[in-house]
Point group: C2
Chain length 425, copies 2
């Protein structure tokens, strides 16, 4: 969007040399979309991530700053039509992540009475490190009436069930669940919106939008090359996240193992995606003292160090005594969700801050759109959320207004379509 | 938000050397927030705009990429309390536009039981070219019951009346009007959100949020140093905008003249701000052929040139014949709103694209949040909107869901508060 930093998506046709090594990209292209035009002008590669690969991008990829997430319901019972959509989505995603239009004709080369095969609003924008990640919800396997409409019910992973309602949840059906999901992350929100909008357009007649969420500030760090951002409580968030560089931890906590679920071999190497729309009652939070806020979180607001001392990445000392009980209170967020008290469980968070207009009490409809990737929701999410719902001091300032669970297939090889192993194995 | 490009807002205390010449800034700092840390590291000035000046910033300032706009209602009848709020807002706005916290104590230096005077989520972010612009709605002068609660009713400008409903409008009261407005624009949405959130926080007990709108892609160009961005129809938008460099046109079309309204001398040098929330029925639009889309707009989708030929900035030739009638159709948008058929009227647009989740027909709740600054809504907006509502071919793809009008006072001098001349002249 910056005035002088444009490169035509049409001009990029076939020319987007992508950079695959995630950690390296994060360092070299920390400036994101703004660095890309410079490198284009000098003939060097564009900052983009390839769609094809062993894993889907957008999971351990260094978290981009902007999000557009959509959950869709499938409106057909025709398996061929669904597969055709997945193929079309794969083609379009592979194109758009390299900065090209959604289809080969583009936005301005239409002929005759056919609509353009791209909507055009990203025509002048660079790839902006766009990633597009697809997931399959429980409803894809068995619809609301229990029908196996696509002949894949027997391949539904055991863990892929609608999430339970947790204590204190005020979930809205219109912000929850979905048969399919698409996560688009980019450095430029217009690029993320363009991607989702064109995929939704391609799905017209096969899918409808169930809900959609924009996020403007990432609240997690997925690579050690990134520094930790802040959520709308004003605190650093995601300090203890599983990061791209921790291969063993990823295998233990994020990727579905080859033997995890015999009836869902297609999901091996993939992951599960949990979303929770977390409204923060920021007006009430803002009237708490700094000391109280830090007690709720268990970390200092300035540096993010645990209240037991040190720096941001120092391990918290839960045994250290304070003037009244432990210096990190027993209900502090950092303690309640810490692996030490949750059987060693860690997750990969990829959340975003959001503001969605105003609420009905004269404040902002704001909070955190929680996204986590994890190996199994039964071990890596449900117990953690139950612990949080029952004893986290932060709960007083949170309202959970939406949630969803999706199975995220592994990456898509060249010539394949996303989820192919589910439909054709 | 990018990992390696942070500079502490605490460290900037008093150190933010701002750059005032708008056009120069656009060129030098087109890279926005990402360039700022580099220049900080090398000791050069931070890219920021001063709050104080003869005009409010955020009008002819080169349009930043992200918006958070809020409309508020005043809940007190106490004039002193309102004036105290305007003073507190002025102080906080002057601080935040230079990258400092909203109050002198900051987010992490609180003492005792007082809440922090900044919410903290922008602690690590640069100024990001933040501008904060204040406006006064009709309800500030006379409330819904006709009361002159603040003793300023006789100074209400004649032109500051609730906008009429236009043909085809489906206005939602919860997205319309307001006693006060604040427009925050920045290169980083987290910085814009932080500004609005802290000003809303300061107003607690005096104001409530009536509505709030985020925008992610500017749809206008306010300086010749910027290139023209695209709206969600995929077309370049704002080509014919009044620009910062056109001093005479600004005086004619944007700034309120000294003699425009004898009872509102306080507004001389200010402007009027119109907002219209324009939902686009993008799913229907996307099924139109390229040719049809270009006929509706009257320009080509690729370059933005008028259908009568030339380049983006070539004047349209409305007389040129096509195979069936004029080559630019009589109901093409570019013709209906062109100064040539609207008594020479031009406006300064400063709109943003938005996506606010999903709508109730399985699509995206998306469109354009129209913002315009103009000298008098009676000559510069209402006739133009009537022309558009009655004969613009684009109307078929638009739904107007909110609108508001505000008087925007001129700039605030050092030691003054915003709107001071209204309350103390």
């Amino acid at each position: 969007m910056s005035g002088s930093s444009r490169v035509s998506r049409r001009g990029l046709l076939g020319g987007g040399l992508s950079v695959g090594a995630a950690a390296g990209v994060a360092g070299a292209f920390a400036a994101g979309r703004l660095s890309a035009p410079d490198t284009v002008k000098s003939g060097a590669p564009v900052a983009s991530y390839p769609f094809h690969g062993a894993r889907q991008s957008g999971i351990v990829t260094p978290a981009q700053d902007r999000l557009h997430f959509v959950a869709l319901d499938v409106t057909t019972d025709d398996r061929d039509q669904l597969v055709a959509l997945l193929k079309a989505w794969t083609d379009a995603a592979a194109r758009m992540t390299t900065g090209r239009s959604a289809g080969p004709v583009g936005a301005v080369d239409g002929a005759g009475n056919a609509p353009p095969d791209d909507t055009g609003e990203a025509l002048d924008l660079p790839p902006s490190r766009l990633t597009i990640t697809f997931g399959f919800g429980p409803g894809l396997f068995t619809d609301a009436d229990g029908n196996d409409r696509f002949g894949i019910a027997e391949r539904r992973p055991d863990a892929l069930e609608r999430l339970p309602r947790f204590s204190g949840d005020v979930l809205e059906p219109a912000r929850s669940d979905g048969d399919l999901c698409i996560q688009a992350c980019a450095d430029d929100p217009q690029v993320a919106v363009h991607a989702i909008r064109n995929l939704v357009r391609i799905g017209f007649g096969t899918t409808t939008v169930r809900w959609s969420q924009l996020g403007f500030g990432r609240t997690s760090t997925t690579s050690t090359s990134q520094s930790t951002p802040r959520n709308l409580f004003g605190f650093k968030d995601g300090t203890a996240n599983v990061k791209a560089e921790e291969a063993a931890a990823l295998d233990t906590h994020v990727w579905v193992g080859a033997d995890d679920d015999p009836r869902a071999a297609w999901l091996a190497g993939g992951s599960y995606l949990v979303t929770r729309r977390i409204n923060m009652t920021i007006e009430v939070w803002d009237r708490q003292s700094l000391e109280a806020q830090e007690q709720f979180v268990g970390r200092t607001k300035g540096t993010g160090a645990p209240l037991s001392g040190g720096e941001e990445f120092t391990d918290p000392d839960f045994a250290m005594a304070g003037s009244a009980g432990p210096i990190i209170p027993v209900d502090a967020h950092v303690r309640v969700v810490h692996p030490e008290v949750n059987e060693g469980v860690r997750i990969l968070r990829r959340g975003y801050n959001f503001v969605d207009g105003s609420n009905d009490v004269g404040g902002l409809d704001a909070g955190l759109f929680f996204i986590a990737y994890l190996r199994d929701p039964r071990t890596h999410f449900i117990p953690l959320q139950r612990a949080m719902s029952s004893s986290d001091a932060l709960m007083e300032y949170l309202r959970f207004t939406g949630q969803a669970l999706f199975a995220v297939p592994p990456g898509t090889g060249e010539g394949e379509y996303v989820g192919q192993a589910l439909f054709e194995a």
